[in-house]
Amino acid sequence: MHVGEALIAHARAIAKRSIVVVGTAKNVGKTVTVTAMAEALERRAEAFGLCSIGHDGESLDVLEGTAKPRVFLRAGAFFVTARALLPAHPATEILEMPGEDSALGPIVVARVRTAGFFEIAGPPSAAALRRMIQRLFAHGAVTVLVDGAIDRIAAVRSEDAIVIATGAASGATPQSAAREAQALSECLRLPVVDESRAALELDGALTASMVTQFLRAGERRQIVVRDATRIVAAGRSVAGVARGLDLRCERSLHAVACTVCPAAPSRSFEPREFLRTVAGAVRLPCYDVYAGAAA
């Protein structure tokens, strides 16, 4: 099976045109997931754009030693990157320099004219990322893929479909890695507030210390955040430790699927068992891009 096709289909099923891949850790196959979807869109000859959220810490890719995992793109693909990361060859069509900055300097919006490997870099702020997504749509992209980062999950919006990427790099055992994915998945699929019941609305983020206070105080009201991005801090979902609380959100986000990567630099899991374990935990359609398998 082609996992990319399946992931695109999940996003289409809820009428989303921007798909953000959020990893539970580094080296969990985010870029491979993005590439799989890019390949699917290329097969369909559908115009698409590629962007990333900031520079999410993968300053050096473990396997390739490149500044960022490079993506092979064919003619017609739109992408956002830092001016400094544009390759001399193959030459690309530069569409605009929108006045945004990435950690590596000014950002350019470009279109691939000849197939090749490209590095993707995006703006560090949520607002700038949204502007870049809009620019890609304006230039003609029908779908925009975002190589996301859990540390920058605040950039995700309800208009995006979210694909969670997890892998052996996320935990010492398949179960612990699955728990990470489960916590993120539950957090992203937080139920919407029930207007008929008492609620405590939080203006900002829900932090771990607030969770502790609420648990100690035996808080029974719904605890309402704007959306799930407000309960993910420092790459971890606070919701995972808040099981005794009735967490709610004002607007829901849309996690549509999960991908797994059984291999990590320091360990590997049995692929089928890992896929089943994660699928059981996250209760989302789960795929192994490397094995071309689904659960």
């Binding site: 001016r83 030459a91 059984p262």
Partner: protein, 531 residues
């Protein structure tokens, strides 16, 4: 831009505010502004010409055209870095060429707007015709830039060869992936790393599979090229190398074309800056109903219905009306008047009007005649920033005065706001008389606001006064609301400044104002009795 006023003085007379108001929109203009200088004594002809040009453009050019010009200048990317690179013999990147293309686009738009608007008085940026033609082949329908085949037939041929080889290589990889799929009984094998379960892969593994990593139950693999695929891959690499070389050759040729017109581009960038700075002044003149002042050779500050714009804006934002001022000052004048009557505002208006001329902009007044100065000084209890714990208000004023006197400028505008009001009245008055006499002797233009009596008479200086209360303000029977009290005072206060005749009786409005502001009536009554 070096200004002939201190930071504290600039804040008092609204020079800071004015510089913000006439700030250019973009970096070109900001750099142009840095190269400008404030008009000082001796620059009368230039100031006259500069203001006349701004005023004429403000009269002739529609605001929407100016807004479009601003927008067009802002849309021009800065070619500075690209020019620096190319002049250092470096080859330009595609991003540099994109920016230069956009610069040329912007330049064309600015030139068209300037021509259509018949914008006179400012030099038209030059047009790099040769470069515009050269870059044309790289322009894409979305106003992007691409190192297109049109630049070089050899590049076109190299790319065609590479594309054909890409297709052949894709076909080879597909063939290998299909073989692997058949071998492992899989529907599909992804192009890249893939997992192959050991149970699906009877040993030995075929040559098409390269194992990247072994795990107990699977291999992490990728497609290994066989001889036919490797042959195509080698050809593809060579073709890609050829494309890369041709692309670099085109970039080198385009860089040479840019290098050849670098002086024109530098000149164009500089002139765009001048346009930006000029348009900012013209828009100011249109925004604030200004007049073209007469730039006088002899020292003076004279105006009719002038407005101190920072205060006018502030009052308007709170729903109040600003009263314009008229004044003729051709030596040292003494200004008196009631509290809250606008003495300080009058000083600021004098400074602001002079500052407008010094910065080359029309004056917000019905008419004005103003000379240039090489020093602007404000003496008074000004901004908090200047105060130190060890220096009293009087001490601060004295140091300000000492600094002004020590500079001994050829022509200065000195504005003195209630000098010595915080020291003993007898000595303070004496100091002020001496100061006015000294200023008169040095030939400066000065306005000295004070509550001390008979300063003008004793120093032999013209006496101006704020007209003051037209009638006693209405007293409220209810608890004093400060805003309402200020409103009532403003209703009956005549802020105009007039020249006081020798025998003219002067208003003393302090007690009436204190009463409106809520001071105990018994205390007011006792004060009246003491008077």
């Amino acid at each position: 831009m070096t200004a002939p006023w201190s930071a504290a003085c600039a804040a008092e007379i609204g020079a800071d505010w004015l510089e913000q108001e006439i700030a250019p929109a973009g970096d070109f203009g900001r750099r142009a502004r840095e190269r400008e200088h404030v008009f000082v004594l001796g620059d009368e002809a230039q100031a006259r010409e500069a203001i006349a040009r701004v005023y004429a453009a403000a009269e002739d050019v529609p605001p929407e055209t100016l807004a479009q010009l601003c927008e067009a200048v802002l849309a021009c990317p800065d070619p500075g870095m690209a020019l620096a690179r190319v002049l250092g013999d470096a080859t330009l990147t595609d991003a540099d060429l994109f920016e230069l293309s956009r610069f040329v686009d912007g330049l064309e738009r600015v030139r068209n707007l300037m021509t259509n608007a018949a914008l006179a008085g400012i030099a038209m940026p030059p047009w790099p015709q040769a470069l515009a033609l050269t870059l044309r082949d790289g322009r894409t329908p979305q106003r992007g830039f691409y190192l297109s085949d049109a630049f070089d037939p050899e590049l076109s041929a190299a790319r065609a060869a590479a594309v054909a080889l890409h297709a052949r290589f894709d076909a080879e990889r597909t063939r290998l992936r299909e073989r692997i799929a058949v071998y492992a009984g899989l529907e599909d094998v992804r192009d890249g790393e893939f997992v192959l379960m050991r149970e699906r892969a009877p040993a030995p593994l075929p040559a098409e599979i390269r194992v990247l990593r072994e795990a107990p139950t699977y291999w992490l693999c990728e497609v290994a090229l066989d001889e036919p695929a490797r042959t195509v891959f080698t050809l593809l690499n060579a073709a890609e190398q050829r494309v890369a070389e041709r692309e670099e050759a085109v970039r080198a040729r385009l860089s040479a074309a840019v290098r050849a017109v670098a002086p024109i581009l530098e000149d164009a960038a500089e002139k765009l800056g001048a346009v930006d700075a000029f348009v900012a002044r013209v828009r100011f003149a249109q925004r604030y109903r200004t007049c073209a002042p007469e730039v006088a050779e002899v020292p003076c500050v004279q105006f009719v219905d002038a407005r101190f714009l920072p205060l006018e804006r502030s009052l308007e934002s709170r729903g109040h009306r600003y009263a314009p001022l008229s004044l003729t000052l051709d030596s040292v004048g003494v200004l008196t008047g009631p509290n809250m009557g606008g003495k300080t505002a009058a000083l600021r208006t004098v400074g602001f009007v002079a500052c407008c001329v010094a910065l080359g902009v029309p004056v917000p007044a019905a008419s004005a005649r103003v000379s240039l100065f090489d020093d602007y000084a404000w003496i008074g209890i000004g901004t908090e920033a200047e105060r130190t714990a060890l220096l009293s208000s009087f001490g601060l004023e004295v140091t300000q005065l000492r600094d002004v006197l020590s500079r001994a400028p050829e022509r200065a505008l000195v504005l003195v706001d209630e000098f010595a009001r915080t020291t003993s009245p007898r000595e303070g008055r004496a100091l002020l008389v001496a100061l006015v006499e000294w200023l008169r002797a040095t030939g400066v233009i000065a306005l000295v606001a004070t509550h001390f009596s008979r300063i003008a008479e004793d120093a032999g200086a013209p006496h101006f006064a704020v007209v003051g209360l037209r009638e006693p303000p209405r007293r409220s029977t209810e608890a004093v609301d400060l805003d309402a009290a200020i409103e009532r005072i403003a209703e009956v206060m005549d802020y105009r400044v007039h020249r006081v005749a020798a025998d003219e009786p002067l208003h003393a409005d302090a007690l009436a104002l204190a009463e409106v502001l809520g001071l105990d009536p018994a205390l007011i009554a006792r004060a009246r009795a003491v008077l």
